[in-house]
């Protein structure tokens, strides 16, 4: 009996404590919050040093740092958004002079000069760097000169047009400017833990696995007086939790899955979408000496394309937040830059009957074995469901598919080592401007790159080689258009869908265009008072 009384007392005490917590008032009005809080499913490597990051996530870096060349929200180089207010090139396109914004200071009070820009670029090209485009810059840049504190000259080994875009916010983080004196005095490790930049927000704290917090500078040339005193990025891997935080008013922006968009919209949460943020692209692993059979036969590649019902995949797997893609490796944000028009004839119809005929013509009427590697990817929680659907479509036309569940690094090793010729893998390749698309093609569609090549076509190799040397933009555009056309006509891969990425926001956040800059959310608009 006494035991029972103690139990009841304990239960009442527990209820009392919980009740107290429940009764505490919660502030949910965004107007009262001096804080912008963004909940994301992944921070990628979670490192704050731009040279150790950048090929996946730029969200938080772009608020703390400035790039040498800024961009508009749709990724076009802009003299208003970066540290260079203007730039010009020599007639042979080998000397690029950048004029720097005056009076810009780092968060520790040091003035930003050409020395910092030179130091940053050399650091980004250094051996420690893992940024997306360090390799091509190492190959291309011959010298970096600093004739004046507000001027920097980049000399290249060959004529090129790519320098401003490579050093802009449009691509990776090679163009991020970091403080030379601070890093030389404190070392790389201290900088990575307590980064100092020139951006509108300065670093406050990072708790790995939890959050990154930054606070506004008084005024910044990029966005004026920042609208929020603090910005916090919260790492919340589970979507249910991100949505619960949004409902509770604890976060203002959260990345959400495509399948929960309707539910959130019904509840009145605005959902902003980055359209065509990635292309879901499928390819076959090449053999050490090129195309393996039977994919060596163009008819087989076409048949495998025709066997896939892209519209159904877009609707049933991606909840309608995707559109069929017609061009292998066809990064559509580049199409507008180079004037490439996707015609209705380029779209692959869903035609299993014709697929079967083509397979029969290619001598594969009785089918062949095909391993489909199935894995999840960041931004693609539907990965395994998609792989199952893909295998199902191919089964219908007689291909004997086998699903091989792995994680992506395991597939990538097979791919680059070419140890499993003919097997199928996929990736949600981030969309990007023409120069980024070119850099991707140079790796995934260029024979000499070997490691990642998925195309093995001497004609395309020749065109890619010409793009790098070409300085006439119109000729570059024509070459790029021809590359895309040939990728489509030869069926070098299975372009499946363009993925739209939704971000739900609090009901009071207001207007926001998340833009179309690779790996960036373009939060400037939210933070800007201009």
């Amino acid at each position: 009996m006494i035991a029972m009384k103690r139990l009841i007392t304990f239960a009442l005490l527990t209820l009392g404590v919980t009740g107290g917590a429940l009764a505490a008032p919660r502030i949910v009005d965004a107007q009262q919050k001096p804080e912008l809080t963004i909940a994301l499913s992944s921070f990628s490597a979670e490192t704050l040093d731009p040279v150790l990051q950048g090929h996946n996530v730029k969200y938080y870096l772009s608020l703390m740092f400035d790039y040498l060349v800024g961009t508009t929200p749709d990724g076009q180089p802009s003299a208003n958004g970066g540290l260079a207010t203007r730039w010009e090139n020599s007639s042979d396109h080998r000397r690029w002079t950048f004029h720097l914004r005056k009076g810009v200071k780092f968060h520790n009070g040091d003035e930003m000069t050409a020395d910092d820009v030179k130091f940053s670029l050399e650091r980004a090209m250094g051996k420690r760097s893992t940024t997306g485009y360090a390799g091509p810059l190492r190959t291309l840049i011959q010298a970096i000169e600093t004739p004046a504190p507000d001027r920097i000259v980049i000399v290249t080994k060959e004529s090129t047009l790519i320098i401003p875009t490579y050093l802009s916010r449009a691509l990776s983080t090679e163009g991020v400017v970091v403080p030379r004196k601070y890093i030389e005095a404190n070392g790389d490790d201290v900088f990575a833990r307590k980064p100092v930049g020139t951006g509108p927000y300065k670093f406050v704290e990072q708790v790995t696995g939890s959050h990154i917090k930054m606070t506004a500078v008084d005024n910044h040339w990029r966005i004026g007086v920042p609208r929020y005193k603090n910005v916090t990025f919260k790492l919340v891997p589970e979507e249910t939790t991100r949505i619960a935080l949004l409902r509770r008013g604890e976060v203002d922006v959260a990345d959400v899955s495509r399948e929960r968009v309707k539910e959130l919209e019904r509840e009145g949460f605005p959902v902003h979408t980055r359209r065509e943020e990635a292309i879901l692209s499928v390819w076959w692993v090449l053999a050490p000496d090129g195309w393996p059979a039977p994919m060596k036969d163009k008819r087989v590649r076409e048949a495998l394309n025709l066997a896939v019902d892209r519209a159904e995949i877009a609707q049933s797997i991606f909840a309608g937040h995707a559109d069929p893609a017609p061009i292998p490796l066809g990064l559509s944000w580049a199409f507008r830059d180079v004037g490439f028009k996707v015609t209705p004839e380029m779209a692959y119809p869903y035609d299993p009957a014709r697929a079967k005929r083509l397979l029969a013509e290619a001598g594969q009427g009785s089918g062949f074995a095909l391993d489909v590697y199935a894995f999840q990817l960041p931004g693609l929680p539907e990965g395994k469901a998609f792989a199952e659907a893909l295998a199902g479509y191919w089964e219908k036309v007689g291909v004997k598919t086998k699903l091989v569940p792995v994680d992506y690094p395991a597939f990538r090793k097979l791919w680059v080592d070419r140890k499993a010729p003919g097997v199928v893998g996929y990736y949600n390749i981030a969309n990007r401007s023409w120069i980024g698309a070119y850099a991707l093609l140079e790796k995934m569609a260029y024979g000499p790159s070997k490691l990642n090549d998925t195309v093995n076509d001497p004609e395309i190799d020749g065109m890619i080689a010409q793009v790098m040397r070409q300085t006439d933009r119109e000729k570059i555009n024509a070459l790029m258009r021809n590359i895309f056309t040939r990728l489509r006509s030869e069926h070098y891969g299975v372009p499946v869908v363009y993925l739209h990425s939704p971000y739900a926001t609090s009901k009071t956040l207001g207007k926001w265009n998340p833009g179309s800059v690779m790996y960036d959310l373009f939060l400037d608009e939210l933070a800007s008072s201009k």
């Binding site: 009996m1 006494i2 035991a3 029972m4 103690r6 139990l7 304990f10 919980t18 917590a21 429940l22 505490a24 919660r26 490597a45 979670e46 490192t47 040093d49 090929h55 051996k127 420690r128 893992t130 997306g132 485009y133 390799g135 190492r138 990776s172 490790d189 990575a192 833990r193 708790v207 790995t208 696995g209 939890s210 959050h211 919260k234 790492l235 919340v236 891997p237 589970e238 249910t240 939790t241 949505i243 619960a244 935080l245 409902r247 509770r248 604890e250 994680d407 992506y408 690094p409 395991a410 990538r412 090793k413 390749i429 850099a439 991707l440 140079e442 790796k443 995934m444 490691l451 990642n452």
Partner: protein, 306 residues
């Protein structure tokens, strides 16, 4: 007792040494971390540079000896992913896991003890059936499901408690309950069966015959003798709660050791994987040692037997 503790410590050190070899070998057997660190368009030269910079181009034996040499000095190396000293990451995460585990264990002990004892004393009655239902649900409902339901309804819809992250006492309630419920269930069942056995023993009957008050018979004499399996269970589960609460830490955005391990595994971050496994090994060894010592306190016959 000291000799016994010394032998157990020596055994633990040997086990940790073997563990270090196994984890070193297995981590490397799972793939190349550079495939995760470097961008998709990295060249062969980029791979070679990164491999040399990170020391992954050295022979395995050299890498292992270097790793062991540093570990004995308290240096677990640098995370390949976060590029920070692994010890720092462990120091950041371990206290969060320990706090959550202590909270969950406290909740589960506070619930399991009264429930287990009352269920045993009231065998076959309604209260026993309710306790058994709680036990069955706790062990059969998957942790991830319980966690998601609590986040969706208690935090998201009803907005009673925080959904995730560490923000004061209230933020411990949902993850602590989710973790603790499973332990409550197991512990309660063990305690109930132990109590039933003890309550039927001769010395308990003798105590009753001698007129000892019932609550003293149950809560003092019987409970103490039913504790041995419960202490073992609690010890094992405390280690598990600290080191492998991956699901709960992921759902509740809790920056603990389990998620550090998960991130390390998915990104092939060898130094992190090795450090977490070794730290886990140390925690298990220490907890087991404590449990062995507790046996002796609870039942002096165990001490004499050794």
């Amino acid at each position: 007792m000291i000799r016994f503790a010394g032998i157990r410590i020596l055994q633990s050190l040997i086990a940790l040494a073997i563990l270090s070899v196994v984890v070193f070998a297995l981590a490397r057997a799972t793939g190349d971390p550079l495939h995760m660190i470097l961008p998709m368009n990295a060249t062969a030269e980029d791979y070679a540079n990164a491999r040399a910079y990170l020391g992954l181009d050295r022979p395995y034996v050299e890498q292992y000896l270097s790793f062991v040499g540093r570990v004995v000095q308290g240096d677990f190396g640098t995370s390949l992913r976060a590029r920070r000293p692994v010890l720092e990451l462990i120091q950041e995460r371990l206290p969060n896991s320990l706090r959550l585990a202590v909270f969950a264990m406290t909740v589960s002990l506070a619930m399991a003890f009264p429930l287990g004892v009352i269920a045993a004393v009231n065998k076959g009655r309604a209260v026993d059936r309710i306790a058994q239902l709680i036990s069955v649900l706790g062990q059969s409902l998957p942790t991830f499901w319980v966690a998601i339901v609590l986040v969706e309804f208690v935090a998201g819809r009803l907005q009673w408690l925080p959904a995730g992250g560490i923000s004061g006492f209230a933020s411990y309630v949902l993850p602590g309950f989710t973790l603790g419920w499973f332990v409550v269930a197991g512990m309660m069942r063990l305690l109930r069966s132990g109590m039933l056995e003890v309550l039927d023993s001769e010395y308990v009957k003798l105590a009753r015959v001698k007129g000892v008050v019932e609550y003293r018979v149950v809560w003092l004499h019987a409970l103490k003798n039913a504790l041995i399996p419960v202490v073992t269970f609690a010890g094992i589960y405390f280690s598990i709660l600290v080191t492998t609460a991956i699901v709960v830490e992921t759902v509740f955005a809790w920056p603990g050791l389990g998620r550090l391990a998960y991130d390390g595994i998915t990104s092939r971050d060898f130094p992190v994987i090795q450090a977490v496994v070794l730290v886990t090994g140390v925690i298990v060894a220490v907890v087991n040692l404590c449990v062995d010592c507790l046996y002796a306190v609870i039942d002096p016959r165990i001490r004499y037997a050794r």
